[in-house]
């Protein structure tokens, strides 16, 4: 894409205290049950009480993130709203299903059903902001966040002055945790989340979060960084083919691997799923600062949004908290961040961020 795009604001609620943009991982929470739950803000500060009481937990989390983002970007009226999610509102889906069983399909209530729809958050944000513009929700697993960004970028191409709000969310859920545990998604034994990368075993941790980004073709007052480019790669054959894709991507952006100051990787702690990405990091990016984030966020379809927040924050604040670093490389003023995420060893994505 030859046009330029900027991240002008961000709002994120995650298993770390991330909802305050004045901080950057000052306070770290670690988890011992292989499930990471959001550290919640005071919802009343972002959502009016009449609206608040009708909202499910994840809708509260998502709407708060959207409001935090809008305040951060000092934007009041985006032209479009796009969200991405992997599994949507699992709690409400579970509750409605359980009611179906409990009441044998009789005397059921509409709220759980309505709030289980994947586009409920995009609809809610539009309703709250009275935004009548473009509205879409992507649910393509580990690409949901990236496709949402891409969708926004395509819409911003004809008019760089517009702003799109792009969000991504997923939530932890006991039933899904149980189901996915049976097929080896998560660590067999409980571990300390901060030690995720010390284990050479399969399985990862279940995480959750909601992140919103204000994207525009014009840099805003509070611009974090430039969103230079992105790419999605489905099931690369091997690490060699992944490395080729990465190099091609960088080359199309006139960058070489040694110009990448910070490599934010979506290694998940699952030794099998991490294999290809690990090889690429070691062979192509051994001079970049090795930043990882899933020991803080857990793994979920849209976890790359946490990674994107990490990358954008590094560029904005020109600082990398120690908890993110996994090598000793130093960069005094990082200018280029590459995020390479993988979800379950199938969905690989590249997001290139540059200093404004």
């Amino acid at each position: 894409m030859k046009e330029r795009y900027y991240i002008n604001g961000v709002g994120i609620v995650s298993p770390q205290r991330t909802f305050d943009n004045a901080e950057f991982l000052n306070e770290i929470t670690h988890y011992n049950e292989n499930v990471l739950h959001c550290v919640l803000p005071e919802f009343k500060e972002y959502i009016n009480p009449i609206q608040l009481r009708r909202l499910s937990r994840m809708l509260r989390v998502g709407l708060s993130a959207a409001v935090i983002c809008l305040r951060d970007s000092k934007e009041i009226a985006p032209h479009g709203i796009i969200t991405g999610t992997g599994y949507g509102f699992l709690h409400e889906t579970a509750k409605f299903l359980e009611e179906i069983y409990q009441y044998n399909e009789k005397q059921l209530t509409p709220t759980y059903f309505m709030q289980s729809t994947y586009n409920a958050l995009a609809g809610l944000v539009a309703l709250t902001l009275k935004c009548k513009g473009y509205n879409n929700t992507h649910v393509n697993k580990g690409f949901a966040f990236e496709t949402s960004l891409h969708d926004a970028m395509m819409h911003l191409t004809p008019d760089a002055s517009q702003t799109f709000l792009v969000g991504a969310f997923d939530e932890t859920d006991k039933a899904q945790f149980n189901i996915h545990s049976q097929i080896g998604y998560y660590k067999a034994e409980p571990i300390d989340s901060l030690k995720l990368f010390e284990y050479k075993t399969t399985g990862t941790l279940q995480g959750e979060g909601a992140a919103f980004f204000s994207i525009s073709g014009t840099p805003g007052e509070n611009v974090l960084c430039e969103l230079a480019d992105l790419k999605m790669i489905f099931c690369p054959e091997d690490s060699h083919s992944l490395a080729m894709d990465v190099n091609e991507f960088l080359s199309a952006n006139n960058i070489t691997t040694d110009q990448v100051d910070v490599l934010v990787s979506g290694l998940s702690g699952d030794v099998k799923n991490d294999e290809k990405l690990k090889v690429v990091i070691e062979t192509e990016f051994n001079h970049s600062i090795d930043v990882r984030f899933k020991h803080l966020s857990g793994e979920y379809c849209t976890a790359s949004s946490f990674g994107c927040w990490v990358g954008a924050s590094i560029l904005k604040k020109q600082y990398i908290p120690d908890v993110l670093r996994f090598n000793n490389t130093i960069a005094t003023n990082p200018k280029t961040v590459l995020i390479i995420n993988q979800y379950m060893g199938r969905n690989y994505s590249l997001i290139l961020l540059k200093n404004k």
Partner: protein, 88 residues
Amino acid sequence: MQTVEELIPQLKELIIKQLNLEGVTPESFDADMPLFGEGLGLDSIDAIELIVLLDRNYGIKLADPKEGKKVFQSVRTMAEFIQQNVKK
């Protein structure tokens, strides 16, 4: 069968629970306060929730949501309706 006065506090608790009215106590709204629009500010989805509340707790079925408009005007009108229609 309970009287309307006896039903009122019970109904208030049920409404608060069914509609997840966080921060609302039975004392904070009065039996004659409008439930929809002004007053408690309920909407059309809440109306359906109240229909289910009547069915689950009192065995009363309201097939037509439009009938609900009159019935759900206030807690008192709900209590009166229940008193007249409850099936043992």
